[in-house]
């Protein structure tokens, strides 16, 4: 009985001394992200007839829940590497999660045999090159900078 009481006290102690303060401090220091213009732009092949996509469309495309464009062309989403600030902005705006979180979600899908994540490129120039050369490709790059040879889509909420 005394042992059980002791154990209960230890558990309560761990909870109140470690977990609860951590939870509270994290809740109070929750980061606030800017709600201005997105720091990225969506790019597709110039021959793609699409001109606008909703955020929900983009989420479904990059999670491979939608795999074909309306004309039947396979969609090939491509990502920037997880440490990219543009990917971070894209991920938080579209998936409402950090790139790490999305990455964890893909690892669960991958190693349970439920899908393979989009190809990842380290540089924006590689994304642009890939999109220029693949009709069904879709990617994102920073909102500023040169994006010749690709079409920029309008993102609607």
């Amino acid at each position: 009985m005394r042992k059980k009481l002791l154990r209960t006290h230890i558990c309560a102690g761990v909870f109140s001394a470690v977990i609860l303060p951590t939870c509270l401090s994290l809740a109070l220091t929750r980061p606030v992200f800017a709600q201005n213009e997105p720091a990225y732009r969506i790019v597709v092949h110039p021959d793609n007839p699409i001109t606008t996509l909703t955020k929900k469309d983009l989420k479904n495309i990059f999670l491979k829940r939608v795999v074909k464009w309306p004309d039947g062309e396979p969609i090939i989403p491509v990502d920037l590497s997880p440490d990219s600030s543009v990917r971070d902005a894209f991920s938080r705006d579209i998936h409402k999660r950090s790139p790490d979180c999305v990455n964890a979600c893909w690892q669960r899908k991958l190693f349970s045999g439920r899908g393979v994540p989009p190809c990842t490129f380290p540089e924006e120039s590689a994304i642009l090159e890939f999109v220029r050369n693949h009709v069904g490709a879709i990617g994102y790059v920073s909102a500023v900078g040169d994006a010749n040879g690709v079409k920029t889509l309008k993102v609607i909420p």
């Binding site: 154990r7 558990c11 761990v14 909870f15 470690v18 977990i19 951590t22 939870c23 994290l26 809740a27 929750r30 829940r65 939608v66 795999v67 074909k68 396979p74 997880p82 409402k96 950090s98 790139p99 790490d100 990455n103 964890a104 690892q107 669960r108 991958l110 190693f111 349970s112 045999g113 439920r114 393979v116």
Partner: protein
Amino acid sequence: MKLKINLPYAFVFLLSPCFSQDTKFSVHGYLNQAYGQSDRYQYYGIPEEGTIDLRNIALQFNLKYGLKNSLVIQMNSRRVGESPVGEFIDDVELDWGFYQYEHDETLSLKVGKVPLPLGIYNEIRDVGTVLPFYRIPTNVYGEGTWTSETVDGVVVSKSWMPGEWMLDLDLFYGGWDSVTSQSADSYTPVRNEDATGFQFWVTLPGERWRFGVHSHRRRPTEAFDETIGRDHQDISIGSVEGEYEHFLFRGEYVRATFEPEGSSWKAWYLHLGTSFSEKWALNFMRSRGRITLVVPFFATGSGDYDDDALGLNYSFTPRQVLKFEYHRTEGYSVEDLSPDFFFEPPVRLDYFLISFSASF
């Protein structure tokens, strides 16, 4: 080194149709390596003197042709320390391998040795980079014992997205090999046939919370103990998983019933995780299990299994994670004592694990 590849699965791959010229091939893999030590006795392969022989390595080959057809093979090498379960594990095994036909984005068919959709963790039970602790909760999933990671048969998956909700249903039929026991030091291989069941998930709008139900019935073809019947065994699992900002919550409850009537295994765990930063995460888990065994004309016995764990994880990157975890357990899973829950009190022991996980 033994290498075991089941020929019927190989035929599934050889005979799979190739409809498209657009072929994509990718290779992925993971490593999960641990050192574990208990303060007394041996617990799930972890001895008092410690062991580094706790490891999972897997390589996955994924061949996709067109939008509809894919072949997936995953080879696995698994070490379970000093556990007697290790006797039934080959050095290198076919973890799973299947052909998948995707009718569209919402409907697919998998044939072969397919990951078994069972609860939150069964399909990813060795993928250390996405697990809070080195092992998934043993009270609910067993140490690869009472159930299986895969089903040799068919899995049909269907998804619906009504509005912001998501519904996912997996139906399966087939069989599997498992290893099971009545005491902690004696395990017997059992073939299970005619396993029929489902896993259903409801994901709430916002995709922060999801609720799951799993149920299946199977027929063991060999009795692993003369007191246990072979007619059928029923397993049901309820799952809940939620996340909010830096917090993660998971909980599952399993209920397994088997013959003789009145015998059962009931267990649950609750897991609370929180991340201090991009790098550090703290996890707490409380788990309980109770076995009730009816021996006709003799007695009814029951035993409790507790496992409380506290873990600290450091992510070098999302694909490289170092974990420190401490467990306090009480029960009958002590392999070198093998206490009998009919006659003896539960044994308490603590153990810790330091593990490193990586994936690509």
